[in-house]
């Protein structure tokens, strides 16, 4: 006996917004995963669009490598607008 694989569910709550991860569920195939997602995660009008992805297909970064992966971004202040000084009389840019 094989078990139904796990799927990750992403819901767009309304047009104009991105799909957001909202949870997971089990289903034997993609069609069922979509149907189940509709029944499990949109019972209260939470969505207008659903994505389902087999959980096994997700490649995730490893928190052990968080140092080299994310920390180098910390001192790149020049990517942020506040890095640049503007004359006081200029209110907006």
């Amino acid at each position: 006996m094989k078990n139904w694989p796990l799927w990750e569910v992403f819901i767009r709550s309304k047009n104009g917004l991105e799909h957001r991860h909202c949870g997971s569920l089990h289903a034997s195939d993609a069609t069922m995963a979509l149907e189940n997602a509709r029944d499990v995660y949109t019972r209260r009008m939470e969505g207008v669009s659903i994505w389902v992805v087999p959980s096994a297909q997700i490649t995730a970064s490893n928190p052990e490598n968080n140092g080299e992966t994310f920390e180098p971004a910390i001192d790149k202040a020049y990517r942020h607008p506040t890095f640049y000084e503007l004359p006081d009389e200029l209110k907006h840019m």
Binding site: M1, N3, G23, S28, D29, M32, R44, P63
Partner: protein, 318 residues
């Protein structure tokens, strides 16, 4: 890893929790943290799905269409909540099937409250009011727990559960304003569910060995006794509005403590039910096992079908 290194990792881990950082599935965590969470989250999930049974018992007999729909929707939500929680536990490396096995073999526990029978329609009201009321108290506290997936499941669950308690209370309110027969039914349900509801918060703090560790991991934001007290304080005025008596002659407002004093729980009964000898333990477990076993051929068929379809697509691609 040396003992010293492990200790240092554990200290860093605890420091993260103390800083209110969330722990996510792939983060390093002490093995005991993982195991404790698997146990607690799966137990919580089992409680949701076993908890569907006493209420499901009344779907076909609900007295009005409106009540039938509300009850169905509520029980369905509980199924959903079980699902969210199983998913959260699965991020810790256990499958839903393994958790079911633990439930079916009696290794895993679920909330003892569901081992009491639902005998009248007033029980539907009382379960919603008292049982969901007690559960919500615990769950609201758990929204701030340290494990990310568990905390997120709690947020979603609390949002959805807000109608459950009202659904129950509204059933009782209608009956309490009804005929003497209906009022008696409400009182009878109260008499049977009050003490088991208080038992839902678990043993007294003095007899609850895991409390300290669980508090550190924010698996417990308040102790059993604190939550129980909070529940009593909150429930007494609601019972007064219904015009029913709480079956405890020691129940009394304590002006000094600013809390209600209440009588002693029958701890023998508590342990009897926890150990599997409550009125419905066997029946509930049988119902779960039977649903799972009778569903085997269905789940197998779906997998076989999916494999056939996938093979067809491969062939078409060639």
């Amino acid at each position: 890893m040396s003992e010293k290194e492990l200790k240092s990792l554990e200290d860093q881990f605890q420091a993260r929790i103390d800083r209110d950082e969330k722990i996510e599935p792939k983060d390093w965590m002490p093995e005991k943290y993982r195991q404790t969470h698997i146990r607690q989250i799966s137990q919580h999930a089992h409680s949701e799905i076993v908890g569907m049974l006493p209420e499901a018992n009344w779907i076909t007999r609900a007295p009005t269409l409106r009540r039938k729909l509300a009850l169905l929707a509520k029980i369905q939500d509980e199924g959903g909540h079980g699902l969210y929680l199983y998913s959260a536990a699965e991020t810790l490396g256990i499958s839903r099937e393994e958790m079911y096995d633990q439930l079916h073999s009696g290794k895993a526990k679920y909330s003892s409250i569901f081992n009491y029978p639902a005998l009248t329609w007033a029980d539907m009201g009382t379960i919603g009011w008292l049982v969901d009321g007690a559960a919500i108290m615990n769950q609201v506290a758990l929204m701030g727990t340290s494990y990310g997936p568990y905390s997120r499941a709690m947020v979603r669950i609390c949002k959805e559960e807000s109608f459950h308690q009202r659904q129950g209370y509204s059933i009782l309110l209608t009956m309490a304003n009804g005929t003497p027969e209906q009022k008696a039914m409400v009182q009878d349900a109260m008499n049977r569910w009050w003490w088991p509801s208080l038992m839902m918060f678990g043993p007294k703090d003095a007899d609850s060995p895991n409390t300290e560790q669980s508090v550190k991991w924010k698996l417990k934001r308040k102790t059993n006794d604190e939550l129980r007290q909070q529940f009593v304080d909150q429930t007494v005025p609601q019972a007064n509005i219904l015009g029913i008596t709480i079956p405890d002659d020691k129940l009394k407002w304590n002006e000094e403590r600013k809390h209600y004093d209440f009588g002693e729980i029958d701890w023998d009964e508590f342990w009897q039910v926890v150990k599997g000898h409550g009125p419905c333990n066997k029946q509930r477990l049988e119902a779960r096992k039977s649903a799972w076993e009778k569903g085997t051929w269905v789940r197998d068929a779906a997998v076989a079908y999916a494999e056939k379809q996938a093979n067809k697509e491969v062939k078409q691609a060639i």
